[in-house]
């Protein structure tokens, strides 16, 4: 074995010896061309010359170019190094390599160690190595600086590849599968760092049990699956990582930085096998993007320690486009998802018994829990808010979500400026800023020209392109929300009873399952749609607004299926409130208050389908601050008789409006007296189920019929005022019912309109019990019986109209029946007015000195103890008043102060 030093200046390493080679550095040339037995040196004494590598002629035992300052021009040729011990190659950083520099190590040695010491060459001057044979050991040294490689190809090698620190700027190809080679484990890192070319990693099924770092600017692509040890870290610092549809397995994946970097998943995935560590570390995802289906599988199956997933938990959130799916295999250790992590699918496989810490996370895909696992309770929310997916599925497998849940995103701008073609919206939090490419809806902005659908074009917290050319100064702005996808329950979903489900946007598909939460809040102007199917929502919270929802006219809150919302709290503490949106009839919701002995209040000026208190035993009423009646589109059922306290002193002056355009509504008051007003409006019908009693207060005890059909169904109705003085098309059915009017004024009591009114009055009795003045007016109806049961004054009649009462009677004395002076007449069949001695019943006109007409077509009228004044009795009947007083201006009456005088008169007649 001899040494050969290049002294040939600029020339070619070929088969011609010439004076190119010396035996010593800078020595005299003229030695033979190096053979496989010779060590070749290019050093400082070789000069800054260019040496061209000839084709097939550059061979040696070992090669040392560490101190060379010239250029080795490889073209497409290579140098073959045939040695089998010690340093096979010593490189440095002072030379230049051109072409495709390649050294082929072709020894077939079975023993010893071949060392490659590439030195600290730059990427441009790094050398490629092919290890084509041998079962010995290949290692690299950093004694001459960082071990930098271009390509490192071990195809044909069957020995041991030692773990050393390397930087590779080209491809890494491990020995062929089945070669028997050993890839040693260790802590030394291989770094892929090219800034010039794509790098391919071909592991051929070998486990690379050492750390790997990707830190270049180009693509690092897997050729086949890549597996590194379960305790090792794959660090992704920059560049592009192309899984090329393969699986990258590592203990830990770390990519916490702000560099530009991306992962091309394709259909591949990253499998994390580590535990007791932050196995996915991307706490800062600024600059991170991805393509393909971003799937990360976590396969640790033990119970030790805590695995932490950190995906963009700081400002500069990646949003939906940067969210990654995490699937956990069955395991039982603790899991932490760091706050503000952005996740696509979060899946815990069957058999998982993990305990998952409570943290704020954003889920853009499916959410699947395992039946044996535990989600720690807490106040940090989980938000489902995809703007790109068509559907997100939630499968809880009976695991309780004892933390707040948000569906959809509601982003309140803190400022909105701009005009012309661009509107800039600033968000309160960048963590909820919608993903680039998603759309958001802006509503309730003044001027309204700014309302519309926007496409997000920037991932910063400003910059939405507006689609019109509207101009103006925006003074007020409303909620900006994602036009979100469908969130569908795959099984029953149960949240903690002190937690709130906040529903901001998109479609909530119960999929006919039961959703249970403490509180349900849906107060914004975004489009929302609940698909109930046959499912139900239970709100089990207490002492708060258990249901609160609102809507805007332009973006209504809608639902399909049969809505059923059960308020199930069974305790006695605090006040529960429901406030459904002011909504069209089709979108009003059904509420069932199934339990509780607390206070329960209904927010007025809101629309409800049915409100059913069956099962409730506390105190119920309207929210005192209500600004209008609660609107009922179906049924109102009050608690079972006697078990609750309702609509008393703490109630608002407003009550209920039965307002269906089509439904047959019912009102079951179960004997509770309501200190509220009742309005029946619209074209549907309302039928009482049992007697109904309103307060005697004129201000709150009013029952008003303005449209549709109202039927007492034979039950008693007690109220201060019954009013149907309007032009609405309406049917009043009082068949076989007693309607007791306890209040009234000179023109209110039981009063109606001629217009569009249909009467069903058979067997009815309108009873007035006021001790003051009240009023009866129902001109087109034929009322079987009107009864004065109070001690005040009952005014009867309508101007220029005839009223008809079959039987007008009284049950109290004294009292006054005062006929409207301006009415045409009052038609009666039976006038059963009777006072007693000293307690006369007064029959007079509402205007003193002006007669009011009462008419009966035939027969005889006999009354007793009346004080009659300004009365014109007519129609053909005989009008006789016994023990009565004629106070003047009467005609048609035969009035006697006692019976004998009357008989005397009768005899004369």
């Amino acid at each position: 074995m001899a040494n050969r030093y290049w002294v040939g200046g600029t020339g070619t390493w070929d088969a011609t010896a010439g004076t190119k080679w010396a035996t010593t550095s800078g020595g005299t040339g003229g030695q033979a061309v190096p053979t496989t037995a010779d060590n070749v040196f290019f050093d400082a004494n070789s000069g800054a010359n260019t040496v061209t590598i000839g084709s097939g002629t550059a061979i040696c035992n070992a090669l040392n170019i560490n101190a060379f300052t010239g250029t080795l021009a490889f073209g497409t040729n290579s140098i073959t190094i045939s040695g089998n011990s010690a340093f096979m190659f010593s490189g440095g950083s002072g030379y230049t390599l051109t072409g495709t520099p390649l050294c082929i190590l072709n020894s077939t040695s079975t023993t010893g160690t071949r060392t490659i010491s590439p030195g600290g060459a730059s990427e441009a001057n790094s050398m490629s190595f092919n290890i084509t044979g041998g079962t010995d050991t290949i290692t690299s040294s950093t004694t001459a600086g960082t071990a930098t490689f271009k390509n490192l190809n071990l195809t044909g090698f069957a020995g041991t590849f030692a773990n050393t620190t390397k930087t590779i700027y080209g491809d890494l190809t491990l020995p062929s599968s089945g070669s028997g080679a050993t890839i040693s484990a260790g802590v030394n890192t291989i770094t892929f760092a090219s800034t010039l070319v794509q790098q391919n990693i071909t592991s051929n099924g070998f486990t690379m049990d050492f750390p790997i770092t990707v830190s270049g600017t180009q693509t690092v692509q897997l050729v086949g699956n890549l597996t590194i040890g379960s305790t090792r870290t794959f660090t992704f610092t920059s560049g592009n990582l192309n899984l090329n549809n393969n699986t990258l397995s590592c203990g830990i994946f770390s990519s916490t930085n702000s560099n530009t970097r991306s992962i091309a998943f394709g259909t591949g995935n990253i499998t994390l096998t580590g535990n007791s560590a932050t196995v996915w570390a991307m706490s800062t995802a600024t600059g991170f993007t991805l393509t393909g289906t971003p799937q990360v599988n976590l396969t640790y199956s033990g119970s030790t320690g805590t695995r932490t997933i950190s995906h963009s938990n700081t400002a500069g959130a990646v949003g939906e486009l940067g969210a990654i799916s995490f699937t956990f295999s069955a395991s039982s250790d603790a899991i932490t998802l760091t706050s503000n992590s952005f996740i696509k699918n979060l899946i815990f496989s069957s058999g998982s018994t993990n305990t998952v810490a409570n943290s704020t996370i954003y889920v853009y895909g499916n959410y699947t829990l395992a039946s044996g696992m535990t989600l720690t309770a807490g106040t940090n929310n989980t938000t489902f808010l995809s703007g790109l997916s068509t559907q997100q599925n939630i499968t809880t497998n009976s695991v309780t979500l004892d933390f707040p849940v948000f569906i959809g995103a509601s982003i309140t701008p803190t400022g909105i400026t701009g005009s012309g073609s661009t509107v800039t919206v600033t968000y309160a939090s960048t963590s909820t800023f919608p993903a680039v490419g998603s759309t958001i809806t802006v509503a309730n902005v003044v001027p309204s020209a700014y309302n519309g659908t926007f496409t997000v074009v920037s991932s910063s917290n400003t910059g939405l392109t507006y689609s019109s050319s509207a101009t103006g100064t925006v003074t007020t702005f409303g909620t900006v929300s994602l036009a979100s996808c469908t969130v569908q329950l795959q099984d029953a979903m149960t949240m903690g009873t002190s937690r709130t489900l906040t529903y901001n946007s998109g479609t909530l598909d119960l999929n006919s399952k039961t959703l249970t939460t403490g509180f349900f809040s849906a107060n914004n102007a975004a489009p929302r749609n609940i698909l109930f199917g046959t499912g139900q929502i239970n709100v089990a919270g207490s002492n708060g607004s258990v249901w609160s929802s609102s809507s805007a006219t332009t973006v209504p809150f809608t639902y399909t299926g049969t809505s059923k919302i059960n308020c199930t709290y069974s305790g006695s503490v605090g006040t529960r409130i429901i406030g459904a949106q002011q909504q069209t009839e089709a979108n009003a919701l059904n509420f069932y208050i199934t339990a509780g002995s607390d206070n329960f209040q209904i927010n007025g000026s809101r629309g409800y389908q049915t409100i059913d208190f069956t099962g409730f035993t506390g105190t119920f009423g309207l929210v005192p601050a209500s600004t209008g009646n609660a609107i009922i589109y179906q049924n109102l059922v009050l608690p079972a008789a006697g078990v609750a306290t309702g609509f008393g002193a703490n109630s608002a002056t407003y009550g209920f409006s039965f307002s269906s355009a089509t439904n047959s509504q019912t009102f079951t008051s179960n004997g509770y007296s309501l200190d509220t007003t009742i309005l029946k409006q619209a074209a549907g019908s309302l039928t009482l189920v049992g007697p109904l009693t309103l307060t005697s207060s004129v201000s709150t005890g009013q029952f008003t019929l303005s449209g549709g059909t109202f039927s007492t169904a034979g039950y008693a109705l007690n109220c201060a005022i019954f009013n149907f003085q309007n032009t609405g098309t309406k049917t009043l059915t009082l068949t076989n019912s007693t309607v007791t009017i306890s209040g009234g004024t000179s023109n209110s009591g039981f009063s109606g309109s001629n217009t569009n009114t249909t009467y069903n009055l058979t067997g009815s009795n309108i009873v007035f019990t006021s001790s003051a003045t009240t009023f009866f007016n129902a001109p087109l109806g034929v009322f079987p019986q009107v009864t004065m049961g109070g001690t005040g004054t009952l005014n009867i009649g309508q101007a220029s109209a005839s009223n008809t009462i079959t039987t007008l009677t009284n049950t109290t004395q004294p009292c006054t029946i005062s006929l409207l002076a301006t009415a045409t007449q009052l038609n009666v069949t039976n006038l059963n007015l009777n006072g007693t001695a000293g307690n006369l019943v007064t029959l007079n006109s509402t205007v003193s000195g002006t007669q009011a007409t009462i008419s009966k077509t035939s027969g005889q009228v006999s009354v007793n103890y009346l004080n009659i004044q300004d009365s014109k009795a007519t129609g053909g009947a005989a009008w006789d008043a016994y023990y009565s007083t004629d106070s003047g201006n009467n005609t048609g009456w035969f009035i006697s102060s006692n019976l004998s005088n009357f008989l005397n008169l009768f005899d004369k007649r």
């Binding site: 309780t400 795959q490 937690r499 006919s512 509180f519 919270g541 207490s542 305790g571 503490v573 099962g615």
Partner: protein, 57 residues
């Protein structure tokens, strides 16, 4: 395999689904027991009043 089921007890209705592997070996009795266990867990939550919410968001 998805098994939808509904259990109504004492006026409370629970609509849920068991999502099982297609090749599961559970007996009908075990499946019924799973349904009842999930209902019982839910029923306990919904019928146990929490008077003073720890946190209302």
């Amino acid at each position: 395999m998805v098994i939808d089921y509904t259990i109504t007890q004492n006026g409370y209705t629970f609509s849920d689904a068991l999502i099982l592997d297609d090749d599961n070996t559970l007996t009908p009795e075990e499946i019924e027991a799973m349904k009842q266990a999930r209902f019982d867990k839910w029923y306990k939550i919904i019928t146990t009043p929490v008077d003073n919410p720890v946190f209302q968001e």
